[in-house]
Each structure stands twice: as C-alpha cells, then as structure tokens.
Symmetry: C2
Subunit: 88 residues, 2 copies
C-alpha cells in the first residue's frame, strides 16, 4: 500500500503530464485561431464549445462528478479563449 | 499543414488524455484524504499546495503564460479539495 509521499510523487508525475497536455492544447488553439483569421471565420463558436463539453462528459470515468469535471473544463476553455484573443 | 478539422481531432484526443489524467489525480487525492483521516493528519496543507504551484510553474513550457497555467491549476486544486471534503 502506498503512503502519502508515494501518492504525492504520483501526483507530481501526473502534473507534469497535465502541463504538457495543456500546453499542447494551447498550441492547437493558437493554430486554429490563426487559421480562422486567415480564412475570416468567426473566432467564437459556441457549437464547438458545446461539443467539447459533451465529449468530456462522455469520457469522464469518475471519481470526479460530471459537474466537477465540467467545472475544471470551463476554466480550461476560458483560458484557451483568452490566449486566442491575445494573439490576434 | 493541418486544417481546422485536423486540429480539432487533435484537441479531442488531448481532451481524452486530460480527462484520464484528471481522473487519476482525483483518485490519488481521495487516497491521500483517506490516509490523512486514518492518521489524523490535517486535510488542508497550504505548504503542499504551494509546492504543487511552484512545480507547475517550473515545468510550464508555454505558450500559456505562468498566470494562465496557474489560473487553470487553481481550479483543478479547488475541485480536488472539494472532492476530498465530500468523501470525508
């Protein structure tokens, strides 16, 4: 059985992966923002955001509730949107 | 060069990984909460949270700024804390 320090080491490893993936997601959001500008598409697309939340809810295995996972994702999407705006 | 649909497929894949890692992090937080209860340690440890934020800032490669990454992590930590509380 793992002790608290063991679990914390595990969390530190997970955090490095999370930061890597959030950074990759941010780079993809910037690329999309750039493509939208050159093709004059609207930057804000509520239907796409809805699809992202539905997807996240569908693949959430727990132990976080649907509301808790959506709570985290709302912040992720907010930050990605502000990144796209600042680069325009 | 990837088009918008290509980038979105990439983001959908990243989101599945993010949900998987957030769920693993939540399971670890629950395990720590349980160990703290059985050993009568305090549930809230500000020093540990400080260490988590420092770690995240240190490994952040961009394009998200330090403030943007911390913004996302504040929500993650808030949700993990409320998960630990509801299970007690």
């Amino acid at each position: 059985m793992m002790d608290i320090d063991g679990w914390r080491e595990k969390i530190d490893g997970i955090d490095e992966e999370l930061v890597r993936l959030l950074s990759a997601r941010a780079a993809a959001a910037l690329a999309i923002g750039e493509l939208k500008r050159t093709s004059e598409l609207p930057v804000y697309e509520p239907q796409r955001e809805k699809t992202v939340f539905e997807h996240v809810r569908r693949v959430n295995p727990g132990p976080l509730s649907e509301a808790q996972m959506v709570d985290i994702y709302e912040r992720i999407i907010d930050v990605m949107r502000s990144l796209q705006k600042q680069s325009s």
